[in-house]
């Protein structure tokens, strides 16, 4: 019981770790989807990230956190060769996807992206109808059997079906920002990729839409593997099983680049980080 006059403000800890989370199986029992070793990424010869080595495990949500400019987005875009399109971009080191080097000769980046889908920071629906946004990729990739069912399933999985089922022919641009982003998620999972990369998927969204997207990641990780970049630590704490913390380092000539500081189970990163920089960041002393 509250005593009269006592202020009714409860101070929440800065970061709350989801307590309902199921315990993670030991790492040896997890299947590795990505094995990244010594990854350097450079724009026009200037390093954006240096010597990143980490593994990404199947059916988990892996979060990448860190301050602005630490190369989180650059890193995640390496995983499906999205950076190929940027003039002057080069990378060294290896990224193995199920044991295959995704940058090896003879690997088609189109095939890489076919297996590893992506959702971007800003919702980018096609200027087509809601239905066609999901169906177009399916048609182009030859998944034309039971098209309507596939579209419906993807929209249900993305928690959008109830809101759009009566206006599937309406323009996707008539949806709100949060709905557009869920439509983009539906579009990405409709083609049944193996991994879904999310580059700050909720940064432009309101809290309700953010919650919907976090919930669907939680529900869908049985079928997919998620890698999510976020600048929102609470979000990482809520959705991720594993968390990688990136930070900015200074080179000998004063150049700045991002590097992986610590990578561990989310709970460990937020409650008992082994690196001082991680601790400063997750407790809000820096960043």
């Amino acid at each position: 019981m509250r005593v009269a006059g006592e202020p009714s403000i409860t101070i929440e800890p800065t970061v709350r770790v989801e307590t309902r989370r199921q315990p993670m199986p030991p790492r040896e029992r997890l299947e590795r989807i990505f094995a990244i070793e010594g990854l350097d990424a450079l724009y026009a010869g200037k390093p954006a990230i240096k010597s990143v080595s980490m593994d990404v495990y199947r059916n988990l949500v892996t979060a990448v956190i860190g301050p602005s400019g630490c190369g989180k987005s650059t890193f995640i875009r390496c995983l499906n060769r999205m950076n190929d399109l940027i003039p002057g971009f080069t990378q060294t080191g290896t990224i193995r996807y199920h044991g295959q080097d995704i940058c090896a000769d003879g690997v088609d980046p189109v095939a890489v992206r076919r297996n590893i889908g992506m959702v971007f920071q800003r919702p980018n629906p096609f200027p087509k109808s809601i239905y066609d946004n999901v169906a177009w990729g399916l048609k182009v990739l030859g998944m034309k059997d039971a098209l309507d069912d596939r579209v419906e399933r993807a929209l249900v999985q993305a928690a959008l079906w109830d809101e759009v089922k009566d206006r599937l022919k309406a323009s996707a641009l008539s949806l709100s920002g949060g709905q557009q982003q869920r439509l983009c998620i539906a579009r990405a999972i409709a083609v049944e990729p193996d991994v879904v990369l999310m580059d700050e998927p909720a940064s432009a969204l309101d809290p309700v839409a953010t919650q919907a997207i976090e919930q669907l990641m939680h529900d869908l990780k049985r079928e997919y593997t998620f890698v999510i970049v976020t600048h929102n630590m609470q979000q990482a704490a809520r959705v991720a099983d594993m968390t990688a913390f990136f930070s900015i380092s200074r080179g000998a000539e004063g150049d700045r680049f991002g590097e992986l500081v610590e990578y561990d189970a989310t709970e460990k990163i937020f409650t008992a980080p082994s690196d001082r920089k991680t601790e400063d960041y997750v407790t809000g002393r820096f960043g």
């Binding site: 003039p87 992206r113 297996n115 182009v140 983009c184 579009r187």
Partner: protein
């Protein structure tokens, strides 16, 4: 800095009357510039209409000119209108796909150095005087093969190519990169992304650019003088391997005639050409708007 004062004197101290006067002056100058631009157009249309009005009738586009010296009855320029239609249509068929492909290559696939170099080349080509292009095509096709509507079309296509390519490049550059990424991230190849996602966004701009190019080509005289003006005959022909008469060349020839009726007919033909270009621009604009609303970008 706000003084919290609401009096006029305070505003005067801040120079508000002066700023207001500057605003009015600039507005007036901008209005005058717009009026001058409109004024010239009205003047041209009015003087063309006034002089060509007497000869403006249906015969102008349905009847052929008489072939003899002593002419009786009404005559028209049907052969010139048919020729212009064939020549410009053929030129568009040549320049439009080429121009779009050039723009797609430069904007979507080429390296920056190549893109810059070819863009400059296109601008230079755009600046080449039409008569030089006429002489070039004369040397290329007419010498040895004789004049033909096809040679004229080719010359006009050379004039249209940079216009179509540059305007297409500009609208391609406006297509957000996020849309390309959305398609590529699905595992869709680049050619398919360009064809199905990027190009549909640019239809409006391509239509506008093509209309401008058609309008420009339809009014060109110099390239046709060298390629499709000798031996054109007075009958209506539709075959591009013959030289065909065209409206601008016919206007030029009629203007040199001693008969004042011929002058009036030249003005009338010019008026028809003007109206045709106006209609083409309006319908292109209508098409582009309709396309945009179908894409759902304007609600």
């Amino acid at each position: 800095m706000s003084t919290h004062s609401l009096t006029k004197a305070a505003l005067r101290a801040e120079g508000l009357p002066r700023r207001r006067a500057t605003n009015r002056l600039m507005e007036l100058l901008a209005w005058l510039a717009a009026a001058v631009a409109m004024g010239f157009l009205v003047l041209i249309v009015w003087s063309v209409a006034r002089r060509g009005w007497s000869e403006l009738n249906l015969d102008l586009i349905t009847k052929s000119p008489a072939s003899g010296f002593l002419t009786t009855g009404r005559q028209g320029l049907a052969n010139a209108f048919a020729g212009t239609l064939v020549i410009v249509l053929l030129a568009t068929l040549m320049a439009l796909p080429t121009g779009i492909l050039v723009a797609v290559y430069l904007n979507e696939f080429a390296q920056r150095a190549i893109r810059d170099a070819v863009s400059i080349a296109l601008d230079v080509l755009n600046g080449v005087p039409a008569i030089v292009i006429g002489i070039f095509v004369y040397g290329l096709f007419v010498l040895g093969h004789g004049p033909s509507a096809f040679a004229g079309s080719f010359a006009l296509a050379v004039i249209m190519l940079p216009l179509v390519a540059r305007s297409t490049m500009e609208v391609l550059a406006l297509v957000p990169g996020a849309l390309r990424e959305a398609s590529l991230a699905l595992g869709v190849p680049r050619w398919r992304t360009t064809l199905s996602v990027v190009l549909p966004q640019t239809v409006g701009g391509i239509v506008t650019g093509t209309t401008l190019a058609v309008a420009r080509a339809a009014g060109e005289t110099a390239p046709l003088l060298f390629t499709s003006s000798v031996g054109v005959g007075t009958q209506v022909h539709w075959t591009p391997h013959h030289p065909l008469q065209s409206v601008p060349v016919a206007i030029f020839e009629l203007s040199e005639s001693p008969d004042p009726k011929d002058h009036a007919r030249a003005w009338a033909a010019a008026l028809v050409l003007l109206v045709f270009i106006l209609l083409a621009s309006l319908s292109a604009r209508w098409l582009a708007t309709r396309h945009r609303s179908r894409l759902g970008t304007s609600r």
